[in-house]
C-alpha cells in the first residue's frame, strides 16, 4: 500500500468536517435523545445539552478516520440529515 501523504488542504478539510457536519450530527442526535421517550421529563433537556460535546467529539474523532475528506463530509452530512429527519419525525408523531 502506498504510504499516505496528507496535504495541508486535506487536514483543513478533515478538520472542517469534524467541526461542521460533525457538530450538526451531534446536535441532531441530542434532539433524538430529547424527543425519544418523554421530552418533558424533569431536567432532561439539561442532559440533552450535556451530551452534545461527547457526541461532537466522537463525530469529530471519526471524521479523521474516513478515507478522504470528501468521504468524511459526505457520510457525516448524510448521518446528520438522517438524524435531523428523525428529530422531525419524533416531534411530529412522537
Amino acid at each position: 500500500m502506498a504510504r499516505e501523504r496528507l496535504r495541508g488542504r486535506d487536514w483543513l478539510s478533515f478538520s472542517l468536517a469534524a467541526a461542521l457536519p460533525g457538530f450538526v450530527l451531534a446536535m441532531a442526535l441530542s434532539g433524538v435523545f430529547q424527543y425519544l421517550g418523554d421530552p418533558l421529563a424533569a431536567d432532561k433537556s439539561q442532559v440533552t445539552m450535556w451530551i452534545v460535546p461527547p457526541l461532537w467529539m466522537a463525530a469529530a474523532g471519526a471524521a479523521f478516520g474516513f478515507r478522504t475528506p470528501r468521504a468524511a463530509w459526505a457520510w457525516l452530512s448524510l448521518a446528520g440529515i438522517v438524524a435531523c429527519a428523525l428529530v422531525a419525525a419524533l416531534r411530529l408523531w412522537g
Partner: protein, 552 residues
C-alpha cells in the same frame, strides 16, 4: 494481538494526537495545576479571610436578626443567611451585592444599644482568583474570553484523547503494561506517557468533556432552543424559575424553620447557606420569595462546586425544586448532578479531594511527557539530516516555552497566595492586586525561560518557585514574632495551607537540584544542556527535568 487498523490511519491519528496535544498542552498545564489547587478553595478562602465585623449568631438570635434586616430593607433583592461558621463566613445575616462572589457584602449586626448595624466586609478574592486561573488559563480581560479559549483547548484535549487511544489500540496489550526503562529514552517516555494516560483516561475524558460543556453551555442551549426545541414546551422547561406564592415579607419563614423543613426533607443534608430571593413588590405589598437552600451531604453527588441545592417557597415552605437536593436526586437530575460532581470531585469528602489533587498533578505529567516525545522526535528527524536548523529552533522554543508557561503558572499562583499576607485589608482592590501579582510573576518567569533556555531556566525557575512558595509559611512564622508582617487575621485556624506550601517548596527545591545536575551532565549539544553551544535539537537525558518539573 492488536486490532487491525490500517497503518496510514494510525499515522494520521498520531499526527492529530501530536498537534492537538501540543497546542492544548500549555493551557492544560495551567488548568490542571490551578484545578488541583482549586480542590482546596474553601481552606484557602478561610486562610485568607479578613476578620468578620460582627459575631456569628444562631438559633433564635439569628431568626431575630434576619427579621430585623428584612424589616429594615423592605426592598431587598437577596438576604443571605449563613448557617455555616467557617472563617470565610462573613456573618450570620448578610446583604450580598450581586452574583459576584468577590464583591463587598453588608454584614448585619447589633450595636451596644441593640440597634441594627450594616457593616461592609470585602471577602477575600484569593480562592476565586485561583479558580479563575483554572477556568480561564489566567487570560486577562473579560473572563468569558479565557473561558471560551479554554473551551477550545478542552475540545482539542478531547480529540487528543480519542486519537491517542486509537493510536494505542493495535499494540495496546504489548505496550500498556510495559515500562521499558533503559537506554532508549524515547521508548521509556512513551511507555510512561501511555501508562499514565490510559490509567487516568476516565478522569481525563470527564474533565475534557465537562470543560467543553462549562465553556459553551449557553451557546449550545441557545442553539438547541432555536432549532431542536423551536415551538416546543421543552425550550422553556429547562430553567423554569420557581414560582413561590407572594407573601408579606414579615411573614417569611425564619431561617430556623427553613432548616427544620430541610431536615424533614433530607435528614443527611446539612444546610450551609439560605438565600431569600425576593421578586418585585405586588400592588398589595406582598412579594414572591424563594429560599434557595445550599448544603452538603456526605457521599452524594453535589450539583454545585461544594454544595447541593433545593428551592423552597419562603412563605409556605413548599418545595419548589428538589432535583438537586442530595438524597432526593433522581432521574435525569441525578445524572446532571453526577456530571458536575465528577468534575468538581465533591462526592467523597477529603479523600476524593486529595485523589483529584493528585490526579490533577499526574495529568500535568501526561501533557509534559507528551511534549517530551514531540521534542525527542524532532531530534531524531534532525539527525537524519532533514532541515535540522528550523526544527532545532522550534524544539528549543517549545522546550523553553513549556518551562516558562508551567513554572510561570506555579510561581504566579504561589506569589498570589503569599501576597494575601501583605495586601489583605491594606489595598483598595484586592482582586486587581492578586491578579497583578500573578501576571507579573508569570510574565517574568516566561521571559526568563525564553531568554535562558529550557535547561538553565528549569533549575533556576524551580528554585524561584521554591522560594516564592516558602514565603507563604515563612511570613506566617515571621508574624508570630512581628505581627505587622502579615495582614491576615492571626486567630488560630490550623496551619494546613502553610504545611502544604512548605512541603511543596521542599519538593520544588529538590527538583531544582535534579534539574541542575541533569543540565550539567548531558551532552552539550542539547536544549537540555546548560552549556552554551550553537543550537542543536534536544537531548533526551535532561528531559526528565521537565517531567519532574510538572509534578511540582
Amino acid at each position: 494481538m492488536g486490532l487491525n487498523i490500517r497503518t496510514d490511519l494510525i499515522r494520521r491519528y498520531k499526527t492529530l494526537h501530536t498537534w492537538t496535544g501540543i497546542v492544548a498542552g500549555f493551557g492544560l498545564f495551567i488548568a490542571f495545576y490551578g484545578g488541583a489547587l482549586s480542590m482546596f478553595k474553601e481552606p484557602i478562602a478561610d486562610w485568607a479571610s479578613p476578620a468578620r465585623p460582627a459575631a456569628l449568631v444562631d438559633g433564635a438570635q439569628r431568626d431575630a436578626l434576619f427579621a430585623r434586616v428584612v424589616e429594615a430593607t423592605p426592598d431587598f433583592r437577596t438576604v443571605r443567611v449563613h448557617v455555616d461558621g467557617d472563617a470565610r463566613t462573613p456573618g450570620s445575616v448578610v446583604l450580598p451585592a450581586g452574583r459576584d462572589e468577590t464583591a463587598p457584602v453588608q454584614v448585619a449586626g447589633l450595636d451596644a444599644n441593640g440597634e441594627l448595624q450594616l457593616r461592609e466586609r470585602t471577602p477575600t478574592p484569593l480562592a476565586e482568583w485561583i479558580d479563575l486561573v483554572h477556568r480561564t488559563g489566567g487570560i486577562p480581560g473579560d473572563p468569558e474570553i479565557g473561558i471560551h479559549v479554554m473551551g477550545v483547548v478542552s475540545a482539542l484535549y478531547a480529540l487528543a484523547l480519542v486519537s491517542g487511544v486509537i493510536v494505542l489500540l493495535p499494540t495496546l496489550l504489548q505496550d500498556l503494561l510495559a515500562l521499558r526503562i533503559g537506554k532508549n529514552r524515547k521508548r521509556m517516555w512513551l511507555d510512561a506517557h501511555n501508562l499514565l494516560g490510559v490509567a487516568s483516561l476516565p478522569f481525563h475524558l470527564i474533565m475534557a468533556l465537562s470543560a467543553v460543556v462549562f465553556a459553551f453551555h449557553h451557546e449550545v442551549y441557545d442553539l438547541q432552543d432555536a432549532t431542536l426545541h423551536r415551538n416546543s414546551p421543552v425550550a422553556e422547561a429547562a430553567f423554569a424559575a420557581p414560582r413561590p406564592v407572594p407573601v408579606r415579607t414579615d411573614a417569611l419563614l425564619p431561617p430556623g424553620a427553613i432548616v427544620a423543613r430541610m431536615r424533614a426533607l433530607s435528614p443527611e443534608f446539612a444546610v450551609t447557606v439560605i438565600d431569600y430571593r425576593a421578586g418585585p413588590s405586588q400592588p398589595d405589598g406582598t412579594r414572591a420569595v424563594t429560599a434557595a437552600v445550599q448544603g452538603y451531604a456526605p457521599g452524594r453527588f453535589l450539583r454545585g462546586g461544594n454544595f447541593g441545592i433545593a428551592f423552597l417557597d419562603a412563605g409556605s415552605g413548599q418545595v419548589l425544586g428538589d432535583g438537586f437536593l442530595p438524597g432526593r436526586q433522581r432521574g435525569w437530575s441525578h445524572a446532571i448532578a453526577a456530571f458536575f460532581a465528577l468534575h468538581f470531585g465533591n462526592f467523597g469528602g477529603p479523600g476524593i479531594q486529595w485523589a483529584y489533587f493528585v490526579l490533577g498533578l499526574v495529568g500535568a505529567a501526561v501533557f509534559y511527557t507528551g511534549n517530551l516525545l514531540w521534542v525527542e522526535s524532532r531530534r531524531r528527524i534532525a539527525r537524519n539530516g532533514a532541515a535540522p536548523v528550523l526544527q532545532a529552533r522550534s524544539a528549543r522554543h517549545l522546550a523553553a516555552a513549556t518551562v516558562g508557561v508551567s513554572l510561570g503558572c506555579v510561581i504566579g499562583l504561589s506569589a498570589t497566595i503569599a501576597a494575601a499576607h501583605w495586601i489583605t485589608g491594606r489595598v483598595d482592590s484586592l482582586l486587581a492586586w492578586h491578579q497583578g501579582v500573578y501576571w507579573a510573576a508569570f510574565v517574568a518567569a516566561f521571559a526568563w525561560a525564553m531568554w535562558r533556555g529550557a535547561a538553565k531556566s528549569a533549575a533556576e525557575l524551580l528554585r524561584a518557585s521554591a522560594l516564592v512558595t516558602a514565603l507563604i509559611p515563612a511570613t506566617t512564622l515571621l508574624a508570630l514574632a512581628w505581627p505587622a508582617a502579615s495582614a491576615l487575621d492571626g486567630t488560630p485556624r490550623g496551619y494546613a495551607v502553610e504545611l502544604v506550601a512548605a512541603l511543596g517548596a521542599l519538593a520544588m527545591w529538590w527538583l531544582a537540584g535534579v534539574s541542575a545536575r541533569r543540565a550539567a551532565r548531558v551532552p552539550a549539544d542539547g536544549v537540555w544542556s546548560a552549556a552554551v553551544l550553537p543550537a542543536a535539537p534536544t537531548e533526551a537525558g535532561a528531559q526528565a527535568t521537565m517531567a519532574e518539573t510538572r509534578g511540582s
